[in-house]
Symmetry: C2
Subunit: 118 residues, 2 copies
DNA sequence: TGTAGTGTGTAGTATATGCTACACACTTGC
DNA sequence: GCAAGTGTGTAGCATATACTACACACTACA
């Protein structure tokens, strides 16, 4: 049961059905910058998910959210990690506080921050 | 210039001065569960910072904040990463929004969430 | 003067991560 | 039937991560 592999296989095959010939293993792999056989193994869960670079490239090609794809792969983007590392105590506290908050509450927070009216 | 190494060396030596004999390289290393020579090299920047487990143990022994120590080591705790990975889009968005916010603004957010009055 | 405590130097090791190279087999269309 | 396109199998490899084991050298002090 490879979440990441299953997910990208289905997505790729769906796109391949939509526009045949454009989303073959080889096409996608070469666009990502990896070997086709490697991608094949990843899709079937014979290999763990690739590195962050490859996952992000894959996300772009498959028209998916990179953060979500990284999460499926058990990773968090280095960009986000760097933001956290700059103020570790602050962010650690905030994230832990929000752990059990429902989505809509967190989302509300996001909006408030973005709009600046708070 | 090893931030992590310098930091723990100073902290350890300060504690060693306070209570001599209790914070030698060997004492601390064995409490952490690593070799003394390894810790020595880390302190002098001859080795990169150790793994998360060792860093957390070190933080506890040196009475420091683990998240801060991990940040010094260029890491983010797996616990925090897991929280993010459960709702990657939501947290990614929030964290990016907060990237350039001043400390006090983020802190205010933390407090509001904690107190629930929002 | 020897032994306990201190730090350091040398020389490794095990495991994980992130891949490549290339041959093989099957299907489809001409 | 053969060429192009499809996926897969085998056999690796380079680099990074996270350490261990043990000998050595210096200092203090009893």
């Amino acid at each position: 049961m490879s979440k990441f592999g299953d997910y990208i296989r289905e997505k790729r095959e769906a796109l391949q059905k939509e526009s045949p010939g454009t989303y073959s293993l080889r096409k996608v792999a070469s666009a990502v910058g990896i070997e086709a056989s490697y991608l094949s193994k990843i899709e079937r869960g014979q290999q763990p998910p690739p590195g962050e670079r490859s996952i992000s490239a894959l996300a772009e090609i498959l028209n998916e959210d990179p953060d979500m794809m990284l999460a499926l792969a058990g990773k968090v983007s280095d960009e986000l990690q760097e933001i956290i590392r700059k103020r570790p105590k602050l962010f650690a506290r905030l994230i832990r506080e929000l752990r059990d908050m429902p989505d809509h509450a967190v989302l509300r927070l996001v909006r408030e921050v973005r709009d600046g009216n708070w």
